[in-house]
Structure formats: structure tokens, C-alpha cells
């Protein structure tokens, strides 16, 4: 299977270098190599495969087996530009071939039509860069369908009354409902809401030569040992390699994108795993390094021709960082749910997806019930905040709560605020001597109102589902990002955005940027 894999020599003529083998990089590698281009994908993390993955909470959750390692890649954080940033973990992403699609929850809802045109519908929002996207849902629809069918997404078309139009159903049926899904349905129907089978990038039936989910429960934060999770590692990256035109080069940490006097990209300079420096030339470069590492690399690539960083004549590289908001309420139920089994989410609620001016603030999102607590993490911090932390009663509560707890969640929008950003830390360096990612982030007041609103809905849902006991923690400003979005926004005007609607950099014709950083809202 792997013997046809390409291995290009140093002098080989390469069409595209892709930086990052994650959600975007994997797909682009497959599209380009199957179209006949010669592609090198540089991935900073290792190349692990299914036999390398383990059910090992200690290694995966506490020792960053497959995510960014703060010891070697420190972050700094501050709320506003006036403060000096302090060193602390502030972002997380999958650091391996397959990127965050290896360890993600695998929720796979599409955006709705409204998401692309909110600025027109809702008007300006003070203190933000709220804008329409330069693309619409109908332009994207064929690509959503292509992605669902090539990657493998489980779901039920037409089950959500809020679903945007789709040209084809899901390729495989929904995964079996869990107790959390039954309770979500129960609560939602009492409240007049709609819980529908969750679209998940985990296959419920054998599909395209891959095995169906075995419901082991180690989805979020882990790699799937049977490749039922439709990561780019399990899907398109394999297809890209089969062309013989795509070389995945793991443990390759890019430090600079090089340009010539004409202002065109010529290739990239990177460290291999022994910290040897190499130059890889290419006719074009595609950066898919995520919403934090992509702007960082552009800022690291400044030259006399691009004194503020590559592709940054607008000054918008790194700006408008969005995390998505998160609201939660928790509950104990009478009988065991055993949520540690099977996939994280089996029902989703989109009744509050759209922003509604009647609520008095901007914001919307999706809801679900899920648990996602492995034994250690639960024992460390899974009990209600007023529970004892050790001793007989603590032990008794662990016994009672582990199988009976579930969390209602709101996954909410973030407003694009220009001062929320990724920049280079002036003092702290990573293990390669490069400036660390500095995160500046403060939730917009409307984002906090949205989270508050969703937390109230979470409590209602749990109540209606028959919770025996409920608890929650107050909504707070976030200081940690899982979803890294918006930092190289796309737009039609070169002075207000970084890339155009085709994800080509406004300033550099042979540079493309494609990952969460191009998101406008």
C-alpha cells in the first residue's frame, strides 16, 4: 500500500509545497496530486497510523501525545494590547499528520446560508469587523457534498428543519442513538425544539474500504484505532499518497516562506527532526497550518519587500482571532447513561442557530448533550463544584456520578474583533529559537451574552429531560482556544483582508492560505 509513495529528491521540481497536513492540507494534497501536480506536504508533527494509537488517557490527555507541546512550543496570553502577555497554554491543535481531524469530536454540521450574509441581514456591530463572506452557501454546496462523500459522514438528510438545502443525502446513515441523545430528544420535544441525528465524520457502516465504528468511546482527544473516524489521515491523505505524486514529510517544522525580488514565493525553509535546516523549492506554497501557526509563519517571513510580514500589506494578518464561545450546564440522572461508550454526540439542536435581534444581542449556535470524560479527567474535575475533593464522600460521588452525568453544551459564535489577535511574542521563544505564539483575546460583550443565553437554554433542556440534579459554572471570558479562526480573513478588498475568495493571498499570486484563518465570521 505504501510502496508507491513518492519520495522526491532535493532537486526535484515541485509544483506545490503545502504547510500542514491537517483538515485543509490533507484535502488540498489529494486534490492537487490527483490532478497531476507534484506535491510536498511539510508537517511539523509525526506520521502516526492506526496501530500507533492507544487507549491511554495519561499519554493523550496529560502528555500531549498528539497535540502541540507547551514545553517546546510555549504560548503567551493577554486580554488586551496594553498588557504584557504571560506565558501559559492558550491554544491547542492536533500536531501530527491528519492534524486536528485525528482527535476532534467529529461534529460535521454544515454552515447555514445565513452564516455568509449576516452583515447584510443584521447590519454593522460596533467595535467589530462584522462582514459578509465573499462566498455564499450555494457556491459552497457542491463542495460540502463532495467532502461528505469523499471523507464519509454519517447523518440523516432532512432530519433538521433548519438544515440548509443539500444536493445529496449523507453517504452513510446516522450512528446509533445514545442515552444522551434520547434525553436530548425528550427535553427538546417538551420544549418545542428539534433534536436531530448528529452529522458525524465517523462512519456508521463500512465505507470506501474503511471499517465502521466499533463504539469504543475513544474519539475526542484520541486517534481512531480502526480508522472509522473520517480524519484526513484515514481518507484523503492515503489517496494523495497513492498517486505517487505526493510526499508527506513529517517532523518538518517550517520557519520561513522565502520570496524573490519580484515578490513571488520560491519555497520554504524548514527544520527536520534533527534540526537540520533545509530549503524546499516550489512553484507555489499553500499554508494550512491553522489559525495560530499560519499568521505566525507569515509574520516570521517578513523581508525588506514585506516589512510587516508576508502577505500583510493590509496589516490584517493575525487580526480578528475568533475562538467560538462555549456554554455548559451539567446534570445527574437517575440511571446510568454510560456515556463513555460510543461517539461523543448523537443528537444536535439547532433551534437557536441563527442570531435573533429579538434577543437583544448578536449571536447563535448549536446545542448538544455529551459527556466526553475519561476516568482520570473526571476524577480530577468532573464532579459538581461544591463536591468534596477527597475522602469517603468524594469516592462515593465518583461512583454515583461517572455513569450518570451528562453536560448540555452550547457551541456559539464569536464576533471578529480586530484587537483579538495572534502575534509574535517579543520575549518568549520556542525550542527552535523562534518567537512564541502570543494570543491577545477578550470576548466581545455580545459573545458573553450569547454564552449566557445558551447556558440558560442548557439548563432548561436538562430540566425538561428529567435531570435529578443540576450544576453549572458561571460564564467567564475565555483565555484558551480550541477553534482558531479568522486571522487571515478572506475578502474582496485587498486593504481589508488577506486572501481573496479563492484563498489566494492578495499580495502574493503564488501563495495560498487555506485553513480556519480565512473565516470571516
Amino acid at each position: 500500500m505504501t510502496n508507491e509513495r513518492a519520495h522526491f529528491t532535493a532537486n526535484a521540481e515541485i509544483d506545490f509545497v503545502i504547510i500542514g497536513a491537517g483538515a485543509a492540507g490533507g484535502v488540498i494534497a489529494k486534490e492537487l496530486s490527483t490532478a497531476g501536480f507534484r506535491v510536498v506536504v511539510l508537517e511539523q508533527g509525526p506520521y502516526m497510523k492506526e496501530p500507533d494509537f492507544e487507549h491511554d488517557e495519561l499519554k493523550y490527555m496529560r502528555q500531549q501525545a498528539i497535540t502541540n507541546d507547551y514545553k517546546r512550543q510555549p504560548n503567551t496570553f493577554r486580554k488586551t494590547e496594553k498588557e504584557k502577555a504571560k506565558e501559559q497554554p492558550a491554544i491547542i491543535y492536533g500536531r501530527m499528520v491528519g492534524g486536528s481531524t485525528v482527535h476532534f469530536t467529529a461534529n460535521y454540521w454544515r454552515f447555514h446560508e445565513i452564516d455568509f450574509v449576516e452583515r447584510t441581514r443584521l447590519g454593522a456591530i460596533a467595535g467589530t469587523g462584522f462582514a459578509n463572506w465573499p462566498i455564499t452557501y450555494s457556491e459552497l454546496e457542491p463542495y460540502y457534498t463532495k467532502a461528505e462523500w469523499e471523507l464519509g459522514v454519517s447523518g440523516l438528510a432532512g432530519a433538521s428543519p433548519f438544515d440548509p438545502p443539500r444536493s445529496k443525502p449523507y453517504p452513510v446513515p446516522p450512528l446509533p442513538i445514545k442515552s444522551s441523545g434520547v434525553l436530548a430528544e425528550r427535553g427538546a420535544s417538551k420544549l418545542g425544539w428539534h433534536a436531530f441525528p448528529a452529522p458525524m465524520a465517523i462512519i456508521s457502516e463500512p465505507y470506501r474500504g474503511r471499517n465502521a465504528c466499533l463504539h469504543c468511546g475513544f474519539c475526542e482527544y484520541f486517534g481512531c484505532e480502526v480508522a472509522a473516524k473520517s480524519s484526513t489521515l484515514a481518507t484523503v491523505i492515503r489517496e494523495a499518497e497513492k498517486t505517487g505524486l505526493c510526499e508527506i514529510r513529517p517532523n518538518s517544522y517550517v520557519r520561513k516562506i522565502e520570496v524573490n525580488k519580484a515578490g513571488l514565493v520560491t519555497g520554504v525553509t524548514y527544520f527536520d527532526e534533527n534540526r537540520q535546516e533545509h530549503f524546499q523549492s516550489a512553484k507555489a506554497v499553500v499554508i494550512c497550518a491553522n489559525g495560530a501557526e499560519t499568521p505566525r509563519l507569515l509574520l516570521l517571513s517578513k523581508t525588506s519587500l514585506f516589512p510587516h510580514g508576508l502577505a500583510n500589506s493590509s496589516g490584517k494578518v493575525g487580526k480578528y482571532l475568533m475562538f467560538n464561545g462555549h456554554a455548559q450546564a451539567s446534570a445527574l440522572f437517575e440511571h446510568p447513561l454510560n456515556e463513555f461508550k460510543s461517539v461523543p454526540v448523537s443528537r444536535v439542536i439547532h433551534d437557536f442557530y441563527d442570531s435573533d435581534p429579538k434577543r437583544g444581542f448578536y449571536g447563535g449556535g448549536g446545542m448538544d448533550l455529551r459527556f466526553v470524560s475519561y476516568p482520570m479527567g473526571f476524577a480530577l474535575r468532573g464532579l459538581p463544584p461544591d463536591a468534596p475533593r477527597w475522602g469517603r464522600e468524594y469516592k462515593a460521588m465518583l461512583r454515583e456520578h461517572y455513569t450518570r452525568t451528562v453536560h448540555a453544551n452550547g457551541h456559539t459564535t464569536s464576533l471578529p474583533v480586530e484587537t483579538n489577535s495572534i502575534s509574535l511574542d517579543p520575549d518568549v521563544k520556542d525550542a527552535w529559537g523562534l518567537p512564541a505564539v502570543r494570543v491577545t483575546y477578550k470576548d466581545h460583550v455580545e459573545d458573553l451574552k450569547t454564552m449566557q443565553f445558551f447556558q440558560e437554554r442548557c439548563k432548561e433542556l436538562l430540566q425538561a429531560a428529567g435531570a435529578r440534579k443540576q450544576w453549572s459554572r458561571p460564564v467567564r471570558e475565555q483565555s484558551f482556544g480550541f477553534h482558531l479562526l479568522g486571522t487571515c480573513r478572506m475578502g474582496e478588498e485587498a486593504n481589508r483582508s488577506v486572501v481573496n475568495k479563492y484563498h489566494r493571498a492578495h499580495d502574493v499570486p503564488n501563495l495560498f492560505i487555506s485553513d480556519g484563518s480565512s473565516f470571516v465570521t
Partner: protein
């Protein structure tokens, strides 16, 4: 289900044959080998000596762990051999916590002597006395460290030296299996989809 590894293997083999999945067939032997290796390592574990602790210090830390997750009608941290997890952790991946352990123990013993007499070590105290002392330090960094390490030792994979016989997992109702079949819990058992 006497031997979970064998039943797991049989199940996957069967589901593989039934589904005719080319991919799984080619990777399965490696996956099973990796899983079984981990389990063999876990099963061959028979603690005999400590790598980091002196035996008398191990007794002190074990006494703390046994108050954090006590033994009552079900086994606790002691039976789960949490102390062997902590010892191995300090000898390996948690080596940077060694100094905190040494210093924390020293302070704890000082307190024990001060409150309960000169010759007393923490592990010699009666349970109520131990609880009183731990309450007095429960907001300290040292207590937090021992609590964290106790929990890690109770609930991490047995191959790390604790969670002996999966005592921690059995306590809370967690099962580490390669596969489950619906229904998974009490509420999805009699589920009928709405039409």
C-alpha cells in the same frame, strides 16, 4: 468473557469477516498486537521494590493516598497500588516533582509531630488524626500534587503500575473495551425513533 483480550479479538475478527473490510483486515493484526502488548505488560506487573521512594516514605505517601480514595466497602487507592504508580512516575515522567514530594513530606511529618507527639509519623496516626492533618493542608500545593498523582494512579491504564486489576475503573463503572454494541445505557435501551 473470562479473558477480555481473547473475546475482544474474536469479536473484531468476526465483525471483520462479516463486513469483509479490506482495510481492517490488513491493519487488524497490528492493532491487536499493540493492544495485547499493553495488556501483557499490565498483567506481568508484580510490584516488588520502589524505584524512587525509600520504603518509609512510600508508607507515608500511601497513607495519604488511602485517605484521598479510602478503602470502604470497595477497594481504594491502597488496593489499586497507587503508590507504585506514583513511585514510577517520580522515577520517570514526573521527575520534576521529586523535590516537591520530599519537601512536602518533611512538612507533613513536622505537622504530625507537632500535633500528635514527637515520635509520630503520618502513617502511624489513626484515621481521624490523618484526616484532621490533611484538612489542615488541603489547599496546599503539596496536597494538590498528591491528590492529582493519586487520581492518576487510580484511573490511568494498569500498565503504569496503579489501577491494579482495574480497581479504579470498576469503582466508577468505566470499561475499557475495543467495542460496544447499542444499547449503551439505560435511556437508549427501549428507544423507538419518532416517525
Amino acid at each position: 468473557m473470562d479473558n477480555p483480550d481473547i473475546s475482544r479479538r474474536l469479536f473484531i475478527m468476526k465483525s471483520c469477516a462479516g463486513l469483509g473490510s479490506v482495510w481492517l483486515a490488513s491493519y487488524l493484526p497490528e492493532i491487536i498486537a499493540a493492544q495485547e502488548h499493553a495488556h501483557r505488560a499490565a498483567q506481568s506487573e508484580s510490584p516488588s521494590r520502589f524505584e524512587f521512594f525509600a520504603p518509609e516514605d512510600a508508607a507515608e505517601v500511601e497513607a495519604m493516598a488511602a485517605q484521598i480514595i479510602p478503602t470502604d466497602d470497595t477497594p481504594g487507592a491502597r488496593e489499586a497500588r497507587v503508590i507504585y504508580f506514583i513511585d514510577r512516575a517520580l522515577a520517570t515522567f514526573a521527575a520534576e516533582e521529586r523535590a516537591a514530594f520530599v519537601e512536602g513530606l518533611k512538612q507533613l511529618q513536622k505537622k504530625a509531630r507537632k500535633h500528635f507527639g514527637k515520635t509520630k509519623r503520618f502513617s502511624d496516626l489513626r484515621a481521624e488524626q490523618q484526616i484532621t492533618l490533611l484538612k489542615a493542608i488541603e489547599t496546599s500545593q503539596f496536597f494538590e500534587l498528591v491528590r492529582t498523582m493519586t487520581i492518576l494512579g487510580m484511573f490511568s491504564n494498569p500498565e503504569y503500575g496503579g489501577n491494579y486489576n482495574k480497581i479504579g475503573w470498576k469503582l466508577i463503572g468505566f470499561e475499557d473495551q475495543f467495542f460496544f454494541k447499542a444499547p449503551f445505557g439505560s435511556y437508549d435501551r427501549d428507544y423507538k425513533a419518532k416517525e
